[in-house]
């Protein structure tokens, strides 16, 4: 996924999206947080344009926070605030990223290797 080409100087600055806030109300969000379960923006009133567009973007599927930020062409820190607000209002779900499968520890691997070697040599 490539972000859209950014030609020319931006006309609308990012601080407008959150009126300058960049500290989300919850600190559980990161770039890989999966956003899903967006409410239908046309049924919810009182949303700001950027919130409508974020919900619009997430309808019908899930996106990671970083992807959503790239689509909206906003910094991740700002999108975090938007997401936190929407999650607080119950209009969006955020899920922690699925962690990588845990790798066995190095010591155990070494023990297994040693065992195999002894098997081979004996």
């Amino acid at each position: 996924m490539t972000p859209p080409p950014r030609d020319g100087r931006r006309l609308v600055p990012a601080y407008l999206a959150t009126t300058g806030r960049a500290r989300p109300s919850r600190n559980t969000l990161d770039r890989l947080t999966v956003l899903h379960g967006a409410a239908d923006p046309s049924t919810v009133s009182g949303l700001r344009p950027e919130e409508i567009r974020l919900l619009e973007l997430l309808r019908g599927g899930a996106l990671s926070l970083a992807e959503a930020a790239a689509h909206l062409r906003l910094p991740v820190s700002v999108v975090k605030v938007l997401v936190a607000d929407l999650v607080d209002a119950g209009r969006l779900m955020a899920r922690a990223p699925i962690p990588d499968a845990e790798l066995p520890e190095r010591q155990i691997l070494e023990k297994v290797l040693n065992g195999l070697r002894t098997l081979k040599s004996s």
Partner: protein, 540 residues
């Protein structure tokens, strides 16, 4: 006795003669005396005349002197004051008796020359001041833009909430500084300092308000029906004009009152209406604002007060240079209503929302707000196959209409009618669900733009926005092709098998009369050709 009368006669005659002579003399002398008297009377009269004349002259000299003193002491100072403040009256002659005389003309010439000299000097000094300001502002503006870029990249780079918040705050401060510098530069005769690309009107409005402290109070309503944008060269000027008018609205209204901006689309252009509920302006201020905003004469820095209030002058300069129309009047909300009209003919264009989406902060236009009720493109979920949606008809019409227009008409002049909306829905109805390109912008409906361009439009529609248009294959058509292919290979194999095993005619190929292996191959080829023709002409 005779002697006596003779003597008497003689004496008498002599006496008579003497008397006559005397009488004559007497008469002459009396005439002379009378003449003398007359002459002296005339002389005396002359003398009095001369005295009167002299008195008049003296009085006149005095009056002239007073007049000159009045010129130096009152009229010239009045004039210089009037040149600086046009509402100061210049006093006239002290003595109305001089009106129209040579003296009056001479004194007027003096005043004119003083006025000329002062005006020229003021222009020169103001020009120098403006040039100095321009030099400084150009450099500062360029530096602030660099700072803006730097701050923007940092915002992308740092996720830490505290750093990010500081960066946003710094960005905002930078924008405010930039706005000040820019408006000063424009009043001093510089150009706005930036050329942007064609931009949506909604973006311009939010961009303009983002440059002002108190922007949270601005409430934007977007009444546009089409994705109207401003052509590149007028984008920044339009933003600056709006910024200045919004700054007035925000500054002269209570910090808790909202400022309403409405974007409206007209037949011949678009209007931006800014209403505040603030203190308002009285008639004189309105008149002055109108005069400055008309932008007819060059503005002098000295006319703008100390510190210079550049707002209306900036608006005036840009309105004159780029062809906006601006006006201010009393607002029905009690404050001031400012209207900017952007003429459609040279300055507006329709933008392709898919190629150039609005910024997320731009006010959602009415038409798309209703169209958004229909699930449209889902960028980022490319794998999602969208089932055919039951469509709400009016909203659908709207989007189709807009998109179909936008694809072909990136260069279309704004004033041209945007195509026949009634012609579109049918083709949209027949359209099949298609996969979406991964594109941001929730309103983008790529599929529609291709199909809705009409039967002839599929090849020509939006070459830049769409991937190369291959003839669309419906699932049924694909199934047909693959079925034909499968039939072909099956029958070919069967023919070959039967021919090699039994030497009889292949059962499934009624047209093939031969009995050898070669013939079986030929049959397979035949079927193959059939498949190819099916593919070559998917409509068959």
């Amino acid at each position: 006795m005779t002697e006596i009368p003779v003597a008497l006669t003689v004496i008498l005659s002599v006496g008579t003669a003497a008397a006559v002579a005397l009488a004559l003399l007497l008469a002459r002398s009396a005439r002379g005396a009378k003449r003398l008297r007359q002459r002296s009377a005339a002389t005396e009269k002359d003398l009095q005349e001369a005295l009167r004349h002299q008195a008049a002259l003296a009085q006149r000299a005095q009056a002239t002197e007073a007049e000159v003193r009045h010129l130096a002491g009152a009229r010239v100072p009045d004039l210089t004051a009037a040149l600086a403040h046009p509402n100061v009256p210049v006093r006239g002659l002290l003595d109305p008796a001089f009106r129209g005389t040579e003296l009056d003309r001479a004194l007027t010439t003096v005043l004119e020359q003083v006025s000329d000299a002062v005006t020229k000097e003021r222009l020169r000094v103001d020009g120098a001041a403006q040039a100095a300001m321009r030099g400084a502002t150009t450099t500062i503006q360029a530096l602030l833009y660099q700072l803006q870029t730097r701050l923007q990249t940092m915002q992308e780079r740092y996720d830490d909430p505290f750093i990010a918040e500081d960066l946003l705050a710094a960005d905002f401060l930078n924008e405010q500084a930039l706005r000040r510098i820019q408006s000063t530069a424009i009043v001093c005769g510089a150009w706005p300092g930036l050329t942007r690309q064609n931009s949506h009107l909604g973006d311009i409005v939010v961009g303009a308000m983002s440059r002002l402290s108190g922007y949270e109070r601005v409430q934007v309503t977007n009444q546009l029906r089409d994705p109207v944008g401003v052509v590149a060269r007028a984008v920044e000027p339009a933003a600056v004009v709006l910024t200045e008018l919004l700054a007035n609205a925000l500054h002269y209204s209570h910090p808790e009152l909202p400022v309403a901006v409405t974007i409206q689309q007209g037949n011949r252009g678009a209007s931006l209406i800014i209403d505040d509920a603030g203190v308002g302006m009285h008639a004189e201020e309105l008149e002055r604002a109108q005069r400055l905003m008309a932008g007819q004469d060059n503005v002098l820095l000295t006319e703008l007060g100390d510190p210079p209030r550049t707002g209306f002058a900036t608006v005036g300069q840009l309105a004159r240079q780029y062809g906006f129309t601006t006006s201010v009047e009393a607002s029905p909300y009690g404050g001031v209503r400012a209207i900017v009209h952007i003429p459609g003919e040279p300055l507006l264009t329709l933008l392709d929302e898919e190629e150039q989406p609005m910024s997320p902060m731009a006010p959602v236009p009415r038409s798309t707000a209703s169209a958004a009720a229909v699930p449209s493109a889902m960028p980022g979920h490319a794998a999602t196959q969208r089932p055919p949606q039951p469509r709400s008809e009016p909203a659908r019409n709207d989007t189709v209409h807009l998109d179909a227009g936008a694809g072909r008409t990136a260069e279309r002049p704004y004033s041209e009618p945007a195509g026949d909306p009634q012609a579109q829905p049918q083709s949209a109805e027949e359209e099949l669900p298609r996969r979406r390109r991964r594109r941001p912008g929730p309103y983008v409906d790529l599929g529609t733009s291709g199909e809705a361009a009409g039967p002839a439009g599929s090849a020509g529609a939006a070459p830049t926005a769409e991937p190369p248009q291959t003839p669309a294959a419906s699932p049924e058509e694909s199934a047909q092709r693959w079925a034909a292919f499968q039939r072909g290979t099956n029958s070919g194999r069967a023919a070959v098998d039967e021919a090699t095993e039994t030497g009889t005619l292949p059962r499934v190929t009624p047209t093939a009369p031969g009995s050898d292996t070669d013939h079986g191959n030929a049959v397979a080829d035949d079927q193959h050709a059939d498949f190819r023709s099916a593919e070559g002409n998917p409509q068959a």
